[in-house]
């Protein structure tokens, strides 16, 4: 691991100043669950780490009935928060399934939303892939069983954040603070496809910080997340889905359906949403929506099986949100 300087920031302003200060590349460090691994693998080689552990680590109720979640909240604290569990089970279930207890105890909401892809070509030093300014994506004709089934490339990662998927389904907004001040963006606008941003995955600038996740009041929506993992212990989802359904009477009035681990960004499916809107919440409707969600999938040479898994995740997330039997 390359030697680095360490700056302990007392709050937002100090952290941003430290990130923006001259003298090499600086990166924010919260739980370190992702960054330390990247550094040990010589994939990230920052000159300076800025500790952002002092950022807001609280979950507070907004006046409108929503929640405001500080980036420094740990995944374990989010998963255990009673208000969050009641209002946004899609989010807390996703948090509860991340990694291991150790990772959830140290890892933060901000860290999860901003983690780098787990693509094995990106993570292994000897592959100089597109994301590391190389000239090819090794996954295209290589080992792509865990790679994307949506998107046109040129890089075929799947986005690794489990929280990003429900965040988009729940129409969350992210508060970003940078040298130029603060702003809010919709979660769906935060993540960028590789053709827009090859070397990163988000709109976050080098001296910006994501400080809060702002969730709107859920109103009458029901939300849920369903994750398909091979192992029960420490493993990544093969595919997951988060849904937020607004139900009026017996029919779905509006739906937001987002898949995870299937594309370089959390993959919202307007086609599935259209299928579901106006229908009664039945298993048949869930299956039709799930079919629509994966209809446009373009699997690579080894990951056609993920289409079936993504379909199942969507169907089961809908059934779970509807309070119906999932399996």
């Amino acid at each position: 691991m390359k030697a680095f300087a360490y700056v302990k920031a007392a709050g937002e302003k100090q952290a941003i100043a430290a990130l923006a200060a001259p003298g090499g590349k600086a990166l924010p460090l919260a739980g370190g669950m992702d960054l330390i691994g990247l550094m040990k693998d010589y994939v990230a080689q920052p000159d300076r780490l800025v500790s952002v552990k002092e950022l807001d680590a609280s979950i507070t109720k907004s006046p409108n009935g929503g929640l405001r979640i500080g980036s420094a909240v740990t995944l374990a604290d989010l998963a255990a928060n009673a208000d969050a569990r009641r209002l946004y089970p899609a989010l807390t279930d996703a948090a509860a399934e991340v990694g291991t207890p150790q990772i959830r105890n140290a890892g933060t909401v901000g860290g999860n939303l901003n983690q780098r892809p787990r693509c094995w070509y990106f993570r292994n030093e000897e592959f100089n892939c597109l994301k590391k300014s190389g000239s090819r994506c090794f996954a295209v004709d290589g080992e792509n069983k865990y790679h994307a089934i949506f998107g046109e490339g040129p890089c075929h990662i799947v986005h690794p954040s489990s929280l990003a998927v429900p965040a988009i389904a729940l129409d969350a907004r992210f508060r970003i603070v940078g040298p130029g001040g603060e702003r809010e963006v919709a979660a769906a606008e935060y993540y960028q496809m590789p053709d827009k941003n090859l070397y990163g995955e988000t709109i976050l600038g080098p001296s910006d910080l994501l400080t809060h996740v702002i969730l709107p009041p859920p109103g009458q929506t029901r939300n849920a997340t369903y994750e398909v993992r091979f192992k029960q212990s420490h493993d990544w989802p093969l595919a997951m889905a988060s849904v937020a359904l607004s139900v009026q009477g017996q029919n779905v009035r509006a739906a937001r359906i987002v898949m995870g681990s299937v594309a370089p960004v959390p993959w919202r499916s307007p086609a599935a949403e259209t299928v579901l809107v106006g229908k009664r919440l039945t298993e048949q409707a869930a299956m039709e929506a799930a079919d629509a969600a994966v209809a446009a999938a373009k699997p690579m040479s080894q990951n056609a099986y993920k289409v079936q898994i993504a379909r199942t995740a969507v169907k089961r997330a809908i059934l779970k949100a509807a309070g119906m039997k999932v399996v």
Partner: protein, 722 residues
């Protein structure tokens, strides 16, 4: 001749005794090679080749040598050495540095400039078997070509009406020892002490001495505790020699432990196995023929052989043609029951397919085709499947098994499967020990074996204490050091069969020497004495006795030091066992969850029931990894491993481990029998058969990933595989 005490008189042997080293291990006080720290110690890192095949034209260490903190640097390949100047797999060691910190060493190896002439490489057996394929070794990519034939296979197959045919395969599995390979080396003049993570202290000593060109007497190897080897630490390791050379060059102690990535790349693996099989039975369910073309790769090394049909069952006509195929990947090493899980998988899956064709219960079909009992109708004690299959069937609830394909509605399908195992494993007659009794009553058993996590230390203590009539805490166990008498490397399930008899012999000799000393005082012949309950007593009711410590005081200033050598009659060769699996498969996701594994295993005379059960549980968990998760994945284009970690090299975690129900069949008359390997053999085959029973489609490859299960289901929908 030494003998075991009669069953009724045993105070420790055969009981469930907690490991002697449990407390120090759980408290972190046990010092593994990884934990050894010496004054002024440096840390070494290796530079491995990033290229799977290359000729080294030059190695320039100068920038690394100038890096702050670096104290020594070595090139490990001589560019002028012809064939030996080539690397044949990713990670093959090219250079090494020792520095004041691990981080400085890690940074420094990146400053070494190596001029590689990159050569064409082979990532798969398919690539290697093409006529135009580049060569891994000059003699060609195929070796170990063999053909074994019994009976007339072609004739039997020609006549048969029930024939199954298919291609089966198992993946490359890496040992993934939690403690990686390596050690700490320290010179004192021309004498070397090496703390090594090894399965063979004596073997490591000899290998290091030879490689360094120093007298064996100048090398001492110590392995107090070690964190897993599973065969990969049985041979002698190059890393320790590099470590010793760096220590010499830097004139300081050096620690060199491999990274997790290196551990996956260079420390061995279970070779892949492929088999094209045609097998036949007659309509009554008697096996007729088994014809197999097999191949596999041990990377840049031989040893991918496995014997089918697996010799639990009788196929009167059988033929196997085998080839080992070289590719540019880390060479294989012995891996817990080499060849057996592969052979068991291929054979047991074929048997279930025959059972489906015959519409005979697969357990019944197995019972009809087991190796025959001897002429008197008695199955040998190490071939007891006829007895064990019904025991396992009872425990798993086999009577409730449905025919292939769970007809229950919904996506979750349940299934049962079974498989058998056979293993040899004898004691090494050259094993020696020395037992010391001091005048204050202290007892020490010294034996140059090593506890590789199996409980050997505890067994040595139990047998010594049992022999002396003392409690377990009344004896000291000294193992894991070449200063102690020779014992063989711990591999092939031979440790318990080598060590237990030897310890008994040495302990009896020491005890008898003590009897001779105290006989006069007790007014009896030495042969009339016994050691029991902490006392030396004249046998029989009301005989005179004295406390152990009082007896030992009679030694005055002269301790007893009794040597012992392995004797026949205290151990036996070979075990047999069966396993059953109960699984749940979600056919909408392809995810398999194993609910329960039942294991019935022969264990000869059990020394420690608790550690014997632990061996079975550990073997089953490893077998579960082989069945579902573990897979060394090489990028097909670059031959570089994409999952050299524990993130995508999947291993069963706590929540993935099913209920494990172990029945140890105690056969006290057999003497001790090794148990390290057999419990891992049958798990994958039993799980694979259970998965097929659940989903109604056969998956003929391991591991049984969601991808493999969904693909098989998809193929079935598209036209059928059964």
């Amino acid at each position: 001749m030494a003998s075991w005490p009669p069953s009724a008189e045993r105070s420790l042997i055969g009981k469930s005794i907690k490991r002697l080293d449990g407390p120090v291990k759980t408290q972190g006080a046990a010092k593994y090679a990884y934990d050894i720290n010496r004054p002024g110690m440096l840390f070494a890192r290796l530079l491995g080749s990033p290229h799977p095949h290359a000729r080294i034209r030059a190695i320039d260490l100068s920038a690394a040598e100038k890096h702050p903190g670096v104290r020594a640097a070595l090139g490990l390949i001589d560019p002028a050495a012809g064939e030996a100047a080539k690397v044949r797999y990713q990670g093959e060691e090219v250079a090494a540095v020792a520095a004041v910190s691990e981080e400085a060493a890690e940074d420094a190896i990146r400053l070494i400039k190596v001029d590689y002439e990159v050569l064409p490489h082979l990532a798969t057996v398919e690539q290697a078997m093409r006529p135009e394929a580049p060569l891994v070794f000059p003699k060609g990519n195929v070796s170990q070509i063999s053909e074994r034939v019994e009976g007339n296979v072609d004739e039997a197959l020609g006549k048969a009406t029930i024939v199954v045919e298919g291609q089966y395969s198992t993946q490359v599995q890496t040992h993934t020892s939690l403690e990686t390979h390596g050690g700490v080396c320290e010179w004192e003049g021309d004498k070397l002490t090496a703390w090594v993570s090894t399965q063979a202290v004596h073997g490591a000593r000899d290998g290091i001495a030879k490689a360094l060109g120093v007298p064996q007497a100048n090398v001492r190897v110590i392995t107090d505790y070690m964190g897993g080897g599973f065969g990969s630490k049985l041979g002698f390791d190059r890393q320790v020699v590099v470590c010793a050379r760096l220590a010499k060059a830097a004139n300081a102690a050096v620690k060199l432990m491999l990274s997790r990535k290196e551990e996956h790349l260079v420390t061995g693996n279970r070779p892949s196995a492929y088999a094209k099989v045609k097998a036949a039975a007659d309509p009554s369910g008697k096996f007729l023929a088994f014809d197999a073309e097999t191949w596999g790769t041990g990377g840049a090394g031989q040893g991918a052989g496995f014997s089918v049909p697996y010799p639990v069952y009788v196929f009167p006509n059988r033929r196997q043609r085998h080839r080992d195929v070289y590719i540019n990947a880390g060479p294989q090493r012995a891996f817990r029951a080499p060849g057996h899980p592969q052979a068991c998988f291929v054979t047991e899956i074929v048997i279930d397919e025959l059972a489906d064709r015959l519409r005979i219960d697969p357990l019944e079909l197995r019972m009809r085709n087991l190796q025959p009992a001897d002429a008197t109708g008695v199955d040998a004690p190490n071939r007891q499947w006829r007895k064990y299959f019904p025991m396992g069937a009872e425990k798993i609830g086999w009577s409730k098994r449905h025919p292939t394909g769970d007809a229950t509605a919904g996506p979750i399908k349940r299934g049962l499967g079974c498989a058998a195992n056979i293993w040899a494993g004898a004691g090494n007659p050259q094993t020696r020990a020395a037992c010391e009794i001091l005048p204050d009553g202290s007892v020490t058993m010294r034996i140059g074996t090593q506890d590789i996590g199996t409980g050997t230390r505890t067994l040595v203590g139990m047998i010594t204490a049992e022999t002396m009539g003392l409690p377990l805490e009344g004896v000291h166990v000294a193992i894991g050091d070449t200063n102690y008498p020779f014992a063989p490397g711990s591999g092939g399930s031979i440790t318990v069969g080598s060590v237990s008899p030897t310890v008994r012999v040495a302990a009896e000799a020491a005890r008898d020497a003590l009897f001779a000393k105290v006989a006069a005082t007790l007014g009896a012949e030495p042969t009339a004495l016994e050691a029991k309950g902490g006392r030396i007593a004249v046998k029989g009711a009301g005989g005179k006795s004295m406390a152990w410590r009082e007896a030992c005081k009679l030694l005055g200033t002269e301790p007893i030091n009794a040597p012992g050598q392995w004797e026949k009659g205290l151990s036996d060769v070979g075990t047999s066992g069966v396993q059953f699996a109960d699984v749940e498969v979600d056919i909408e996701t392809g995810v398999t969850r194993v609910k329960k594994i039942v294991c019935v295993q022969d264990a000869g005379m059990i020394v420690d029931r608790l550690t014997a059960e632990s061996q079975c549980i550990g073997g089953i968990i490893m077998g579960l990894g082989f069945a579902l998760y573990e897979h060394r994945i090489l990028d097909r284009n670059t031959a570089q491993m994409v999952n050299p970690n524990m993130e995508f090299y999947l291993l069963p975690g706590m929540s993935d481990i099913p209920t494990i129900d172990v029945t140890l069949v105690d056969q006290p008359d057999r003497g001790v029998v090794g148990l390290g390997e057999p419990p891992t053999i049958s798990t994958a085959a039993a799980v694979a058969n259970a998965v097929a029973n659940a989903i109604g489609v056969r998956v003929r490859t391991l591991p049984l990933t969601p991808e493999a299960v969904l693909t098989a289901l998809e193929q079935e929908r598209a036209g059928g595989t059964l």
